[in-house]
Amino acid sequence: MNKFINLVINEHIKIYSKKSIWVLFGVIFVIGILNAVIVNSVTKNDAQDQWQQNAEIQISSIKSDQSIDQLPDNLKDTINEQVAISQYRLDNNIPPQRSDSMWGFVQGSAAIIGLITMFVIVISASSVASEFSKGTIKLLLIRPHNRSKILLSKYLVSFIFALEMLLFLLVAYLIIGVIFFGADGSSLPYLSFQNGGIIESSMFTHILTVYSFACVELLVMVSFAFMLSCLTRNSALAIGLSIFLMFVGVTLVQFLVAFDYEWAKYIVFANMDLSVYFEGSPMIESMTLTFSIVVVAIYLLAFNVLSWLSFTKRDVLS
């Protein structure tokens, strides 16, 4: 066990020994600051103070709009939930969280998770492949550790790196939020529509929930990029292919759903975002939380088995 932890430590050191890794963290931090500057200047004299008026306009305009009836069911549900939440705000006098408050700003960090996914794909895709590309795989494999353990250490560290990036994003936004908008710990409750009713929860719980769902998505993407890394043994190819297939996959799913192809629900990209079962609605009506979990689990298993077979069974000739 001790021996295995050393492998994990080694892989972690390899990632953080590259100077370029700090650029990724730097990019996130700079985006956070820019984000804060923009929020600061834009929200100075906007309409957030007149939220009651805005909510009433929103509700009445939706109710009077006949065309909503022709929308697909899942869109109609989403709109109705929005209306219910706005109505609840008016009834209980709960204004929406201001975007120029600390918690409102941290909530906005969720938009950066997509960027983190890209970074994590790059790191996972090069994990195994770069050892082959650079030839270092030979000196790595002639150690008293079998290939399965070496592969597992690399896989774990790729996911640990994803978690570290998420944690960095959260902490960076908290710090920037405090600096720009003050350490106002008090937050307005976050409202969500669940099981036919409005639920109040704390902002921090809400943000943690968003990050937890992001972890599921990241785990799928790590496994996917990692598999391509093992199969291609070429970092450039693995990185390019993972990012390309991710975009194609997500777009393809939306395309198929738009044209009512029910079987799109068996594609992993349609199931990665589990948050839709708690807020909003799934892409295809027949999908359930259990269904998505099973689909994701099967894909994860397939990705990892392919990685393992490719890494442990093939000869190292490079």
């Binding site: 492998l7 050191i13 030839g135 270092t136 030979k138 000196l139 008293p144 550790h145």
Partner: protein, 309 residues
């Protein structure tokens, strides 16, 4: 004879339908430098990679200290240190951090051990620089240090002198010889540069088209039976030629007189007699040379110039 450190046992490897290694069997002993020779494409690298677990064996096995690489890889490989072709280390890390990385993968490698090795391979001034700033010679030294970290019983080097300059090769050779002699480590070196192997190795095996064609000691030659070429530089040449022609008459000895040398085909034990006769005949002898077969001659003879099937 000692017990061998490594035993290659009826090793086979197929790539698809092509059989690249056929029934390879030989042993390597502690304290010797064993040269593994063969033309390019003969299967040297494939054999070494099978021993290191980088390539799966189709049939047969390699035992290290009696432990099977096939069935108990982790245990067998603890006794082995290796450099496969040019040592490819992590360029974005310092030499020291590279060694630390490998040390963590073995048991009981202390920081003192690492520093001692760094000194031994003469890298102490550059060990905290990134590997990407190293010359090939320095990488080779660092490669040696990583191969020796865990006190292996055998180190395997695949084409280690590729790209080294003559001074680097000489230093490398002396280092390996010294290692085998003082630490009783077995060193197995593959190469196709024969002159170099002749200086470095105690024993060598020649492989061609995946088959072992010969294993013998360096310098071992059958001196008793065959006649060898003896070259003598003497003055005056005409007189020496006469004396030798007279001596050769009626025997199997053959004499050829050149402008400054005599070339005599004779048996090894006849050499003192020849010199004595010449001296008695008042011929001044400047040089006597036995034209022994070199490793290269032997290699070409065995492999027929090294055509690849």
């Amino acid at each position: 004879m000692q017990t061998p450190i490594v035993q290659f046992q009826n090793l086979y490897k197929n790539f698809g339908k092509k059989q690249v290694i056929k029934d390879l069997s030989f042993d390597v002993y502690p304290g010797e430098v064993f040269g593994f020779l063969g033309p390019n494409g003969a299967g040297k690298t494939t054999t070494i990679r099978m021993m290191l677990g980088l390539i799966k064996m189709t049939a047969g096995d390699v035992l290290v200290e009696g432990i099977s690489v096939n069935s108990d890889f982790e245990k067998a490989i603890t006794h082995v240190g290796g450099i496969v072709e040019n040592p490819e280390l992590y360029q974005f890390m310092t030499g020291y951090n590279n060694l630390k990385l490998y040390a963590r993968m073995h048991e009981g490698v202390t920081d003192e051990r690492i520093m001692a090795l760094v000194k031994q391979v003469g890298l102490e001034h550059r060990i905290n620089d990134k590997v990407k700033t190293y010359s090939l010679g320095m990488r080779q030294r660092l490669g040696l240090a990583q191969a020796l970290l865990h006190d292996p019983k055998i180190i395997v080097l695949d084409e280690p002198t590729n790209g080294l300059d003559p001074a680097g090769i000489k230093e490398f050779r002396n280092y390996l010889r010294n290692l085998a002699a003082t630490e009783n480590v077995a060193v197995m070196v593959s190469s196709h540069i024969l002159s170099e192997m002749e200086l470095m190795c105690d024993r060598y095996g020649i492989i061609q088209n995946g088959e072992l064609v010969d294993v013998r000691m360096v310098g071992q030659q059958d001196l008793s039976s065959e006649s060898i070429k003896i070259i003598i530089a003497a003055k005056p040449m005409a007189k020496a030629g006469e004396i030798m022609s007279a001596m050769a008459e009626g025997t199997s000895m053959k004499v050829q007189v050149n402008s400054t040398t005599l070339e005599i085909m004779a048996h090894h034990e006849q050499v003192p007699g020849i010199i004595k006769t010449l001296v008695n005949g008042d011929v001044a002898i400047y040089e006597v040379k036995l034209d022994q077969k070199t490793l290269e001659d032997h290699f070409i003879e065995l492999t027929g110039g090294g055509e690849i099937e």
